[in-house]
Symmetry: C2
């Protein structure tokens, strides 16, 4: 940030009165420009097979970062929507996947990139999914077929790993977690 | 937003290519300025009385909005911290309260103000708390003394209400919720 988004004059970085962190401040109009973490929300769409193991819908990324790697439908939350609406919107945008029965599942802090992931378990309503503009392909995977070494993000790895662990007990507590370096070194909480 | 924070030229609002929502766009440098919900995080500090009912620490606000009303320690999450660190920092800033054993408790979407509340249950470590700059007073309350009609926010009301309900069963699932109008009309999820 170099210029004030309210008045267009240059900003400087310093600690405002009654604060303890440096902020971008406009000396012309007095605006203080706070910068805060962004929320990425999405879901783990579960296809319930009556006569076989449940499967999970993954998307292969058609965009950077991590072009060509597999992920769960997720993306930046927008203003004026709820977390659940954002997760449903991302499922449609990335996989044209209709989901319902959302249940909060993983909440992951990534302080090195100023992001919070909020992921839901969800039921996939039908098999009418197909790739959206940001996906090369979308596909159902059984546990033994998950491409663990070609997943796009540590957050996705963590969420899938917890799901397959919890599925054994049929008990799905909400998991909080921190991933705090770029190479994915992480601390359970 | 009227001016580009990168180059200082005026921005216009329109839908970028490959997008479906209007964004602030700079026609001079090409920057797209996304606006996203902010996270407010905090905690419900619990003082465990060995010989009586547990008590909850509340803060009476010394700042607007809702000056003079009671709240739980909470505030805007900063960049470069985890949700748990943010909740601990807010407890110190508002009440000089030392907390530990944080457990995720309520996750509340407020789409009309572009906010997400993430509240933790926490153990209050000692009784050495005292008001921070943003509090008029900080005090322990038993359930029967909670000032329900003088609480600052619906999110705080919801979190306290769930806590006292769950305490009866000694079972504290994570609660998700939406509060979607300014008068606090809300929908359970």
């Amino acid at each position: 940030m170099k210029y004030c988004s309210h008045c267009g004059h240059p900003v400087t970085q310093r600690i405002p009165e009654n604060d303890n962190l440096p902020r971008y401040i406009c000396d012309h109009c007095g605006a203080i420009h706070y910068q805060n973490p962004k929320i990425i929300t999405g879901c783990l769409p579960i296809w319930e097979n009556n006569d076989a193991e449940n499967q999970i819908l993954l998307c292969r990324r058609a965009i950077e970062p991590r072009y060509g790697l597999w992920t769960l439908p997720a993306g930046f939350m927008e203003n004026a929507e709820t977390l659940e609406q954002a997760a449903e919107r991302e499922s449609i945008e990335e996989a044209n996947a209709n989901i319902d029965s959302l249940q909060l599942y993983t909440v992951i802090s990534l302080p090195h990139v100023n992001q919070i992931y909020v992921m839901y378990r969800a039921q996939l309503c039908d098999k009418n999914f197909y790739p959206g503009a940001e996906s090369l392909e979308v596909e159902l995977f059984s546990e033994q077929d998950i491409p663990w070494d070609r997943l796009a993000f540590h957050t996705i790895h963590f969420t899938l790993e917890k799901y397959f662990q919890d599925r054994k007990q049929n008990h799905y507590p909400v998991h909080t977690h921190t991933i705090n370096t770029r190479n994915g070194k992480s601390a359970d909480q």
